[in-house]
């Protein structure tokens, strides 16, 4: 089979079509949210939400069992969404309260989230193996129902993140000024926290809860090596997110690699290459004196003597 045939058969497979659609949407949306998180110096927030979402997955499972739903895990994604939003709102409240003990509160949530998930899944009659697909992603098992969730939530995240980017930038860049402008600072902060939570749950199936944060943050890290503005960083990061998701997923069609880990490793390799090549690729600054052309405000002895 030539590579072209393999390529067409890959695109022809309904499974891969679904997986590609999910990967493209997640790859586009995650870095958009990540740009705001990096701007707020909260790069690890996605990780915290991911841990808490695991408890949500197990809770959804438990409730599904009680209600006798088939399949058992049909409430896993809604459970993850609810817990992720709750968790992100708590993280945001901790941040708003000031730095005191915020670090500890976050750590408690991280560990509580994982431990709660593992414990609850056992109560629900499942095993840790059931959690693995959520922890590390299993895009190849994306069902039509999962895909519908992914499409709706990713489009929502993109619409909010891109549509309100100026306001979300304002509140992330200078919160005091935003307050002095009468912007609904708290609402906007909560909005960022919420779209971060939604992104985590959306990306859960593609890269897994433990690697979600990488897809949000690494493309931003690559983009800001070169970009000179916030909106450019966001646009470039989103494109990189889409590119690594597509390429990473395509690789797994040939090689039996786990898709989530492949996508993340690919992104980190791109970062490494970009950081190495940066001195060569960076657009040269316009030639000229970098010092602003202002009149001196000191008298130098020689000229003063004139």
């Amino acid at each position: 089979m030539t590579w072209i045939e393999t390529f067409t058969s890959m695109l022809g497979s309904p499974l891969m079509q679904r997986a590609f659609l999910a990967a493209v949407l997640v790859g586009a949306a995650a870095p958009v949210v990540g740009t705001f998180l990096v701007q707020r110096r909260m790069s690890l927030m996605g990780d915290g939400i991911g841990h808490v979402a695991l408890t949500g997955v197990a809770l959804g499972w438990l409730v599904g069992n009680w209600a006798g739903l088939v399949p058992h895990d049909s409430l896993a994604v809604p459970g993850a969404i609810v817990m992720a939003i709750l968790g992100s709102v708590v993280i945001e409240l901790v941040r708003e309260r000031g730095r005191t003990n915020g670090d500890l509160a976050l750590a408690l949530m991280f560990y509580g989230g994982i431990a709660g998930g593992v414990l609850l899944i056992k109560v629900a009659g499942g095993t840790n193996a059931n959690l693995i697909s959520y922890l590390f992603g299993s895009i190849s098992t994306v069902s039509l129902g999962d895909l519908a969730w992914t499409v709706v939530l990713a489009v929502l995240v993109l619409a909010v993140g891109v549509g309100l980017r100026t306001a979300l930038f304002a509140v992330s860049h200078d919160e005091e000024f935003a307050r002095a402008s009468g912007l609904p600072v708290r609402l906007l902060n909560m909005l960022i926290a919420t779209i971060a939570a939604l992104t985590v749950t959306v990306a859960m199936r593609v890269v897994g809860l433990l690697l979600v944060s990488a897809l949000m943050i690494v493309p931003v890290a690559i983009a800001q090596l070169f970009a000179r503005s916030f909106s450019r960083t966001m646009a470039v990061a989103s494109s990189i997110g889409v590119a690594v998701s597509i390429v990473g997923l395509a690789v797994t069609y040939w090689q039996d690699f786990p898709p989530g880990a492949t996508i993340v490793v690919l992104a980190i390799v791109v970062y490494g290459v970009a950081a190495t090549l940066r001195p060569l690729l960076r657009r040269a600054l316009p030639a000229g004196d970098p010092h602003p052309d202002v009149t001196d405000d000191v008298l130098i002895a020689d000229s003063a003597a004139d």
Partner: protein, 258 residues
């Protein structure tokens, strides 16, 4: 309906278990240029931040432009220039983006259609037109300060509040601030400016409020520099040795002492 742009009554601010401000009564009329003076820690910045709703008020009331502080405040008519840019943001942001953020306010969460033109005009007014696309963290301290004033001016504010605009800033940039205030004043705007010394603002200041220990200690004509020292042609060098300096704080030894 009063003609006061700022009307604070019995204003008190309680932060971190401490009473920072108490019993502040302040009214600022339309078109006034008011200097807020006082030592470090006397509550000047906190007063300004309380007036603009940045820090919560624990007692008293504030009215801005005839509406109570809050949702109904006409934020689009108020400009605020903080002391400096918040340090170390994670993502580069261009001067144009920072200024564009100044076009958003309480009732406008998306920039208007002409945002770009207005932001560029504001940057041009502070002499930074050619740096619009540069990331603000690459700009010098004085240039960053100009970006901040452009962000406040982009709204064409009727009330401009500046927090120590001239501290740590070279003379040309100070002049940018003075020019901007002069222009707004000529257009009938009200200006409140926190200062340590009147400096280049002296000719503009009509009234000074001095804070001491979180209360108003003086409200009236601006203090003049002592005697002849304020004159532009005063020669500060002395032909004779000065008096013995007063005892200062502990001396800090430099270098190894062992």
């Amino acid at each position: 309906m009063s003609d006061n742009v700022i009307q604070a009554e019995g204003l008190g601010v309680h932060l971190g278990g401490q009473q920072i401000l108490s019993g502040i009564d302040l009214s600022v009329g339309r078109g006034e240029v008011l200097a807020l003076l006082g030592a470090n820690g006397s509550g000047k910045s906190t007063l300004v931040r309380a007036l603009l709703g940045i820090v919560p008020i624990s007692s008293g009331s504030v009215r801005l432009l005839d509406s109570p502080l809050g949702r109904s405040t006409p934020w689009e008519r108020i400009g605020y220039v903080p002391q400096r840019l918040p340090g170390g943001a994670g993502v580069p942001s261009s001067a144009l983006e920072v200024v564009t953020a100044g076009l958003l306010h309480g009732r406008r969460l998306r920039p208007p259609r002409d945002a770009r033109v207005r932001a560029l005009a504001a940057l041009e007014a502070v002499g930074l037109a050619e740096s619009a696309r540069r990331p603000v963290h690459e700009l010098s301290g004085g240039q960053q300060q100009r970006v901040l004033i452009a962000r406040a001016l982009v709204r064409a504010p009727e009330l401009l509040v500046l927090d120590e605009p001239t501290s740590g800033i070279d003379i040309p940039t100070q002049q940018t601030f003075v020019d901007a205030v002069q222009r707004l004043h000529d257009a009938g705007a009200t200006v409140v400016v926190i200062l340590h010394e009147l400096g280049p603002f002296a000719p503009l200041i009509e009234r000074a409020v001095v804070l001491r220990h979180g209360r108003i200690a003086h409200d009236g004509a601006p203090p003049h520099a002592r005697d002849e020292h304020g004159g532009a042609d005063h020669d500060h060098t002395h032909a004779h040795p000065g008096p013995t300096p007063p005892p200062t704080g502990p001396t800090i030894a430099v270098g190894a002492t062992l």
